[in-house]
């Protein structure tokens, strides 16, 4: 029997959703393979973090230190390298999140262990993981294998697994100080800043007309703005539109923008990168218009139109007038 580790991700005293998603997947792998589930928590205090983990893991490795009050990639790398060295777990699951992106690759180099990132599925064949990843922005799936190793580092795509309730267990909590040799963090955290506040709250809108890269030129935004007004909808967008400064950040839908829950989400020229799709999971009905019939958005939309978005926008304006 080996261990599967899940590194708990938390911010400002709360566990992040990805933690529960990973615990659910890890529990399934443990049950199928007779493994044991260990949650690894790095924090300055237990607070509200320990109880939900204790219900879902067999054991909690709790590294407690004031220096862990905010996330720091150097500390995570050092502490986890130590924990993996001691416990020799088979798999270590971590979030493919901004924080995960900051420490997991460094942990791989530090420990010499293979790493597979952004996995949407994990299977174990004996003691060998088979990972499913999406490449080319989700247009293809790849089954990936790692070179033989004692332990494997895996980052898990947010929302790839649905968190489920399972029969509560009461984990044994093993509290530890930071291991020796851990240095002072090399960067200083200053503050969190909310960049998405603005004049429009897309999170509350019942009908969103949303534009993506397919809008092409900045001048074309006004065409869609006009359509949104005529339809009585709120304008939102995907990341490339904000990156180009065509619309302010508070219009952005997705993991780095806002999650929305309109009755209808009309996606114009949006390809459907997973970061965007995660933000529209709460939408009632998704209608996608895109020239690219293989665009991943069509896999999550309820209705699709494979056509030039401006042709449909013009036709919609005409019909509204009529």
């Amino acid at each position: 029997m080996s261990d599967i580790y899940v590194v708990a991700e938390h911010r400002q005293g709360e566990l992040r959703d990805i933690t529960f998603e990973m615990l659910t997947k890890a529990r399934a792998l443990c049950e199928a393979g007779g493994h044991s589930l260990t949650a690894v928590l790095l924090a300055d205090e237990a607070g509200a973090l320990l109880p939900p983990l204790a219900e879902r893991a067999d054991k909690i490795l709790f590294f407690q230190d004031a220096r862990l009050k905010v996330f720091d990639p150097d500390l995570y790398r050092d502490v986890l390298a130590h924990a993996i060295g001691q416990g020799k777990p088979l798999l270590i699951l971590m979030g493919h999140t901004p924080s995960g992106l900051e420490y997991v690759p460094a942990l791989s180099i530090r420990t010499g262990l293979p790493i597979a990132t952004d996995c949407v599925d994990i299977q174990l064949e004996g003691s060998k993981p088979k990972l499913t990843r999406q490449i080319y922005s989700g247009k293809l799936f790849a089954r990936v294998v790692c070179r033989d190793a004692d332990s494997y580092l895996i980052t898990v795509r947010p929302s790839a697994f649905q968190p489920e309730e399972s029969a509560p267990v009461q984990a044994e909590v093993v509290q530890q100080p930071l291991p020796g040799g851990v240095g002072e963090p090399r960067r200083t955290f200053i503050e969190y800043e909310d960049t998405s506040a603005g004049a429009v709250d897309i999170a509350q809108a019942p009908f969103l007309v949303s534009i993506g890269r397919g809008v092409g030129e900045e001048e074309n935004i006004s065409v869609i703005q006009e359509l949104a007004e005529k339809l009585g909808a709120t304008l939102s967008c995907s990341r490339p539109v904000v990156d180009k400064n065509w619309l302010p950040r508070y219009h952005q839908v997705g993991t780095s923008g806002k999650s929305v829950k309109p009755k209808v989400y009309l996606a114009l020229g949006i390809s459907g990168a997973f970061q965007h799709v995660a933000g529209i999971a709460g939408a009632g009905t998704v209608i996608a218009i895109n020239k690219d019939k293989k665009a991943p958005i069509f896999r999550v939309a309820d209705y699709g139109v494979v056509e030039d978005l401006f042709k449909i926008a013009e036709a919609l304006k005409e019909k509204i007038k009529a």
Binding site: P105, P114, I135, V145, R147, S196, T285, A288, R299, E314
Partner: protein, 259 residues
């Protein structure tokens, strides 16, 4: 301020039907157009802007074959001073191998700052930058959306989820992985690229770097590529734009929106 930017050329896959090749481990690339990885475009622009404000130099590095020099020339036209290409031959490259190759080159180039994109648009792995930082012993930050240099340090914005940024201070030398949207990459004309042809472009053969076989052993390999499983997916509405618009309005109203 000396800056090294690591960049990659990737296939352009939007609005293209990708075809899996016979070996099922890769796609057929002969008909595809190639571009500079989007994230790297922003990284080059950020480096050039920092150089324009604080002086110093910008060196761009890529690992690839002769055709990949196209993106190095583009970077030179954007304002980079010199370029380096490492020819990997037929080696299989994953993030581990790439970061090892890059580390052995970047350590020979003076640097206060090393920039990479957050990820590449082909494998979407997002590991090379931070692996490189670890190999070079540099402090680092990932998913950077703002850099404000203050003497030997920089105040950074790191993008988190839900519109939240973390603001932090980092000391140079450092490695930063750059997120799209951090700046507005400048337009590069064909003429500009031609003019940049006079700048230094150095080619290094993999053998010159003294890396061992263990350094060049990929940690992960694609076993099989396949098309996404057929999901239920969208009900496709067909017809002329007028008929489509009518159907869409009917659906929108049925879903409880007054239009």
């Amino acid at each position: 301020m000396d800056i090294v930017v690591c960049i990659k050329r990737v296939p352009l896959t939007q609005e293209v039907d990708l075809v899996i090749d016979a070996g099922k481990k890769d796609i057929r690339k002969d008909d595809l157009a190639y571009i500079l990885n989007d994230w790297d475009n922003y990284a080059i622009e950020e480096a050039v802007q920092l150089k324009e404000t604080f002086d110093g130099s910008v060196t761009v590095v890529t690992v690839g074959d002769e055709e990949d020099e196209e993106i190095l020339r583009r970077a030179l036209a954007m304002g980079a001073d010199r370029a380096v290409r490492v020819d990997p031959g037929s080696r299989l490259l994953d993030g581990f191998v790439l970061s090892g190759i890059l580390a052995s080159v970047v350590k020979t180039i003076p640097h206060d700052l090393v920039l990479t994109g957050v990820q590449a648009d082909d494998d979407n792995a997002g590991v090379v930058g931070v692996m490189l930082a670890e190999r070079l012993g540099l402090s680092h930050a990932a998913v950077v959306t703002r850099i404000e240099k203050e003497n030997g340090t920089a105040r950074l914005h790191l993008e988190l989820e839900g519109g939240m940024d973390a603001v932090c201070q980092i000391r140079f030398p450092a490695l930063l992985t750059i997120q799209t949207g951090i700046n507005e990459p400048r337009y590069v004309s064909i003429m500009g690229i031609r003019k940049a042809g006079k700048k230094e472009l150095k080619v290094i053969e993999l053998g010159e770097l003294g890396l061992s076989d263990a350094d060049l052993l990929p940690q992960t390999q694609v076993e099989e590529l396949y098309l996404p499983p057929e999901a239920e997916g969208a009900e496709i509405i067909e017809g002329d734009p007028g008929a489509i618009a009518e159907t869409l309005l009917r659906i929108i109203r049925e879903k409880g929106v007054n239009v």
